[in-house]
Amino acid sequence: MAAKKKKTPVKRTRAKRSRRKKPKKRSKLLFYILLPLLLVLVGYIVYLDFVIRDRFEGNRWEIPARVYASPVELYAGLALQKKELLAELKRLNYRNKWAVDEAGTYSSRTGAVLLNTRAFRFWDGSENTKRLRVSFDASGISSVETLKSKQPVSLVRLDPVHIASIYPRHNEDRILVQLKDIPDLIQKTLIEVEDRKFKSHHGIDFVAIMRALYSNIKAGKTVQGGSTLTQQLVKNYFLTSERSISRKLNEAMMAGLLEFHYSKDDILESYFNEVYLGQDGKRSINGFGLASHFYFGRSLKYLKSHQLALLVGLVKGPSYYDPRRHPKRATSRRNLVLDVMLERGLISKEENTQFKRSPLGVSKVHKAGVTAYPAFLDLVKRQLRRDYRDEDLSSAGLRIFTTLKSDVQIKAEKALTSKLKALEQGYRLPKGRLQGAVIVSDVNNAEVVAVVGDRQTRFTGFNRALDAVRAIGSLIKPAVYLAALKTGKYSLATLINDDFLEMDQPGKDEKWTPDNYDKLFHGQVPLYLALAHSYNIATVRLGMEVGLSEVLDVLSDLGVHRPIKEYPSMLLGTLALSPLEVAQMYQTLANAGFYSPLRSIRAVLDVKGEPLSRYPLSVSQVIDSRDSLLINYALHQVTQDGTAQQLGSILPEGLQVAGKTGTTDKLRDSWFAGYSQDYLSVVWLGHDDDKPTKFTGSSGAMQVWASLFNSINAQSLQLDLLEDMEMAWIDPITGNKTEEHCENAVELPFKSGTVPEQETGCNAGVIDWLNRMF
């Protein structure tokens, strides 16, 4: 924007000349030319004033949203192994330091880990830095105590792992620092190197400009800059690097205006947070706060003098003096700054010599720019979009605390990728085409702890965990059986018919004759076994008896909100759901009939650390807990002598779980949904183009599931018998009550009042069966 400014010296001369001839006319000319020009100038200055103040104050900086994983809590009795704690500390970028005398350091000892935690402000309170000794035994953490005084500490919350950032349009990134937290040395050094008269000038340093002009003319090129810190700050606000005279003039005026409105401290603080200091792929490193982490892996206040010197040196040209790409240039620039520090009495002669000899000390680049868990982040963003606009998400510096558990996520990814490879080999499938998805949640509070949406886990494309809507097959069966139990007319022992069934199909001539996977008929079977063995015919009969709309109601109660067509084939799972929706359904079952929406976010804080919104734990009882327990029992039987019985030989001894296999027509989809006391996981495997996989739910998805549950510290399922419930021994052939000592008797849970009244003796079942034969 060109400044409309006339050159005053010429005007004065003209005015003088014409004054001798026509004095009155001249003053009029002056009036009509000068005044409007003056007005325009004033107007322009007012406009610049508005622009610069708006930029300085308003949305001062575009700061990306930071997304955090669930923090690890340490306490005596936690089943966490030493190597798992070390893995988390590594993810947190804690440094190995023997003395652990700095926050963010740790040190390994025999059977223990010493650590100095970082302070962190959570949404529900702050954690102070602590120096601790965490001791381990065979089962996990045996004690947590303060390092010095050996006082036991009941609970410690580590700072959470920063898993991703959501960047604003310009991909700028910064960590804000306040002036009081910026080391005095670096403040003084910056002023000495870049703008010696900072404290006294009013925005522009004419002497510096003249000196620079002189040096540049002498050298024949630009060797010095005469810009003050204030001018540089203004320059940084407007990203185009146009270097015209008009731009320079604008900057000078705006610098003057800034100095007029704001204090030196304000301007200096803004400078420390604004100045461009490097590039990390797409994201730009702005401000000394982030630069300190980017180059040295620690906060500004922990940097040594020569490291501070390097940062100051980078101001002149972050790419040209990039310490990783051009270490020689960076070192000479740093040493120049160190000399200035010496010259101005900021460091001693010995320090100057010592520091000039020191290596640069830059750390390896931490890939903070790349999101490690895109599928999970996708879920977080979708849940956030309900409450926040995209602009707020990416520029207001929000802090998003999620439910992700890094260790479970990593294990889920590993289970999927390794098993997919094994399945491709085992079933001779073309490499790379088979796909899958995994969702893991916490049974007790419906928090999503891991999401895998693609076998290429870093890929940000199609998120199968949330968007692959596929026929669920037998996974629907628990809803059918639950609908039956809900009526009160059925118990786990009720016999249902698994014989040949023929049904009319509306609008078709041919009848529907569903068959079982093993192509056999099984006669009269008790309800729990029909579910455990996943008998199709028995399920269809049961579903038709109970009523399709009742089954749909149950599905809705469980949290499935997708519209479903009310056809009998729905009973065998022709309806299609995403793995997330399946997880929601099983979540309610695993959680004793309490519906809680699956969440990935706990809280959102604003840039100052004040809570903006919370995503509270909310529950509502949708299924009678007793019915829920009966289904859980039956689903446990699935893993004992049902379709998932192989789990017994894969899982660790003593780990009891419940689950359901699902296989669709022509083996297109392989599903498994299963849970322990604490974790629920749904796994889907298949081809994106719907081609058959060649394996079933138990030979495919269940293998991934088992591999995962083998590696996380899952707790064994335990069902507490509730009020108005009792146990009874049943003969599975007749469905009648029997005695404990009878060979084939099974003990089943019942709602009070539903225990079969008829009693039979041992082997009576056999006789009954024989009588039926003849």
């Binding site: 509070n445 009882q621 029992y633 004992q640 003593g654 780990l655 064994s716 599975p732 052939i733 082997n763």
Partner: protein, 161 residues
Amino acid sequence: MNFVVKYLFLFLSLLLLSSCSSLPKTDAPVVDIVDKSGSSAGTTTSHKPAVSNPIVVAGLQKQAKQLNHTGESAKAAAILERAIRIQPRNPGLWHQLAQVRFTQKQYRQAESLALRSNQYASRAPDIRRANWLLITSARAETGDSKGAREARKQADKLGSR
């Protein structure tokens, strides 16, 4: 003759069937995962539910109680949720969260959380009673007088103190 044949056949069949595998497979011992006694006995030594040491969450409970009294219920709830993550089967924590929701006038949630607390309180009749009393009040507040009376009956069943 038919008579003899029939019973001979029966005798032989019985012999056969005693080792027959066409019956549902129940010769494997049924795993005892249903805890009927109300005791905390697990079936195996490994993978038992984590030991619930009350000291771990005691500090959080105290903090939450204070915050709820001083009107910072949202923060109190957040702290209790944290405690529940650490000890999900602790009925006292769920009950306390139910109380906080009650303070916030979220009566439906208060009731649901109290019911949830009862799931884990098979060994703690005191907590069950406290839950039913809370449910009574919550239902009364939403105008469900019939439900409130039923809840009161449940509380009374557990003894009056």
